[in-house]
């Protein structure tokens, strides 16, 4: 069977002073799959995502996406323009803007690129983009509050807003850093449903998650990270039965 890989991470190392945060990470993400990265706190999961979006530059190794090495002087906005969007662990939204504008801004970036001097266009005439933004707000159950300030949302709602901001970009690769943290059970289930729907759309996702319910509902493939190294990799069933994983991470978790 021939596999198409969307992302290929090879030999990535990253140290902070004496602390080895990532050691020789090799990871391939297959097109159209959901790849979960799990591991205890401080295992280097967020650090790994940060190297993908050029928030951090690895000490060595390469990260190939769409034929380009993302570690080779790429800017965060350049990487997003290639088709990588990210939901952060602490929601990164525009608190002073309305929900609608929060979702329209990423859509403009995808449509118009990293810079466009569109002073002589009326924002109010962007009806197509506006209705698309409303569509995504609706998908995430936020359409009713489209005119309120994003800063006034609860943390769970901010996260859902951020999800809409990423989805409207139709990314090739979506990075989700604990997308359901801080959400009520009901909203968590709703988010799982939504992420399953996107899966059918063919979007590739990398997801970091502590909630095993979420991980096992969504993931096609799981990599287990502990102390900066990948200790196990495989299909969800294989990971469940993996002795090393139980010891490092799942030991206390009922499965």
């Amino acid at each position: 069977m021939e596999d198409n890989y969307v992302l290929e991470i090879s030999g990535v190392n990253k140290s902070f002073g004496g602390l080895k945060a990532l050691s020789n990470i090799n990871l391939k993400v297959k097109e159209g799959t959901t790849h979960a990265i799990i591991g205890p706190n401080g295992a280097g999961k967020s650090t790994l995502l940060n190297t993908i979006i050029a928030k951090l530059v690895p000490d060595s190794g390469s990260i190939i996406f769409a034929g380009k090495d993302l570690t080779d002087g790429m800017t965060p906005h350049g990487i997003n323009q290639l088709g990588v969007s990210r939901v952060f662990q602490t929601p990164e939204i525009f608190p002073e803007l309305s929900l609608l504008h929060n979702v329209m801004i990423p859509a403009f970036a995808t449509r118009d690129g990293a810079f466009k001097f569109d002073v002589f266009r009326w924002l109010r005439n962007e009806t197509q983009l506006k209705s698309e933004a409303m569509h995504y707000l609706d998908d995430l159950g936020l359409a009713d509050s489209c005119d309120i300030r994003a800063g006034s949302l609860s943390r769970g709602d901010k996260r859902r807003l951020e999800m809409a901001m990423c989805l409207i970009q139709h990314p090739t690769l979506l990075l989700l850093d604990e997308p359901t943290a801080g959400m009520a059970r009901h909203d968590t289930n709703r988010t799982i449903e939504l992420l399953k729907q996107i899966k059918e759309g063919g979007m590739t996702k990398i997801i970091i998650e502590h909630d095993m319910h979420v991980v096992f509902s969504l993931a096609d493939h799981i990599s287990v990270l502990a102390q900066g190294a990948i200790i196990a990799e495989g299909k969800p069933d294989e990971i469940k039965g993996h002795a090393k994983v139980r010891e490092a991470y799942l030991g206390t978790t009922e499965l």
Binding site: E92, I93, E96, L97, H101, A109, D112, V119, R124, E126
Partner: protein, 370 residues
């Protein structure tokens, strides 16, 4: 508050029409509030433009520049040289002033925007002080140093000579036969103000303006959302520099003299005060702030000790002396003390400025009606 309000076409058109009427009838309503003379109205329009432009940078992107007076100065000197070398017609003066201040803004902005926050503010301040000192001493051949650059009768004025335009008496700006003094000078400024206001409205209501506000709101998110913030910030910086250059040119057009003092840091600080007093990030607020400050400056700085004594002479003499002693540091040359107090009151009680006061008041009236 979201400064890019979802606004309807009707509301914007109505606002613009009211704005145009108010500006064009200023000589009439000016009389009612004791501002019915052209010098003051010209100041309203000129500093209004300065503040409206400044607000595109500070109000939308949140980048506080402490050196925008340098572009005011560049605009003034350019306009004066256009008067000296080309023509007393204000049109080339305006065009060259906008272009040259835009070029300088691009250079200064390119360097300053490498930093944010207080470091950005200090960089712009440093550039402005450099500009001031250059104009004051080193560049004397261009700026005529502390005397200021005057437009003289026997300057070359190539275009005027080519078209046979004669200058009689001391040279004044001349718009195809209309002298740029008094009310005709005001109306030239007023038309520039209307154009400037309309452009600012387009910026505020455009996707570009929304993106500037988004940079102010969360620059990190902008970067991870696929935007390169630097060209956005630089464009906003250049636009605001051009507004300042236009304002500087208008100063020379209504009074053909350019001095280095208008580049001083106090002038840069004044436009910050105007913007904050009126309402940062609001479309009309900065203009209102400029008008209020220039209006009260005109009133307070005209008062001196003898007029104070005349005002308070109904009091017993010992009390009169006390009152005059207390009040006098706040008037005349000390008017900046009054401005400082006014500014503190606004910052502490109404950080959104006059516009916030107005919206609170209308909300209160609405509540009372219900």
């Amino acid at each position: 508050m979201d400064s890019i309000n979802p606004s309807s076409k009707r509301k914007d058109s109505l606002g613009l029409i009211i704005f145009i009427i108010v500006v064009l009838t200023a000589p009439l309503w000016g009389k009612l509030i004791g501002a019915g003379y052209p010098d003051l109205l010209q100041k309203f329009a000129i500093f209004g433009l300065f503040a409206i432009g400044y607000n595109i940078l500070f109000g939308l992107t949140g980048y506080l520049s402490f050196g925008h007076a340098v572009f005011l100065g560049i605009g003034s000197y350019t306009a004066a040289w256009s008067f000296k070398l080309l023509s007393m017609n204000p049109v080339p003066a305006v065009i060259f002033a906008i272009l040259l201040s835009g070029i300088f803004a691009a250079a200064i902005g390119y360097v300053s925007l490498r930093r944010t926050g207080i470091y950005f503010a200090i960089l712009t301040l440093a550039f402005a002080q450099m500009g001031y000192n250059l104009a004051y001493s080193v560049l004397t051949p261009i700026t005529n140093g502390e005397t200021g650059l005057r437009v003289l009768r026997d300057d070359p004025r190539v275009l005027d000579n080519a078209f046979g335009v004669q200058i009689e008496g001391s040279p004044v700006g001349n718009f195809f036969g209309i002298e740029m003094t008094g009310y005709s000078g005001y109306y030239f400024c007023a038309i520039m103000l209307i154009l400037g206001f309309y452009l600012a409205m387009r910026v505020f209501r455009s996707p570009f303006g929304m993106k500037l506000v988004a940079i102010k709101s969360n620059q990190t998110r902008m970067e991870y959302t696929g935007y390169n913030p630097r060209p956005y910030l630089l464009t906003a910086f250049v636009i605001s520099g051009m507004y300042a250059g236009l304002a500087g040119a208008l100063m020379v057009i209504v009074d053909p003299l350019a001095g280095a003092e208008r580049m001083q840091w106090t002038a840069s600080g004044e436009v910050v005060l105007m913007t904050i007093l009126g309402g940062v990030g609001t479309l009309i607020g900065p203009l209102i702030g400029a008008v209020v400050i220039k209006y009260f400056e005109n009133i307070f700085s005209a008062i001196n000790d003898s007029s104070l004594q005349a005002t308070f002479n109904f009091l017993p003499e010992w009390l009169e002396n006390i009152v005059v002693t207390i009040v006098s540091p706040f008037v005349g040359d000390g008017w900046h003390m009054t401005l400082g107090v006014l500014f503190m009151i606004v910052i502490i009680f109404m950080p959104g400025g006059i516009m916030e006061a107005i919206s609170r008041l209308t909300a209160w009236i609405k509540r009372m009606r219900e």
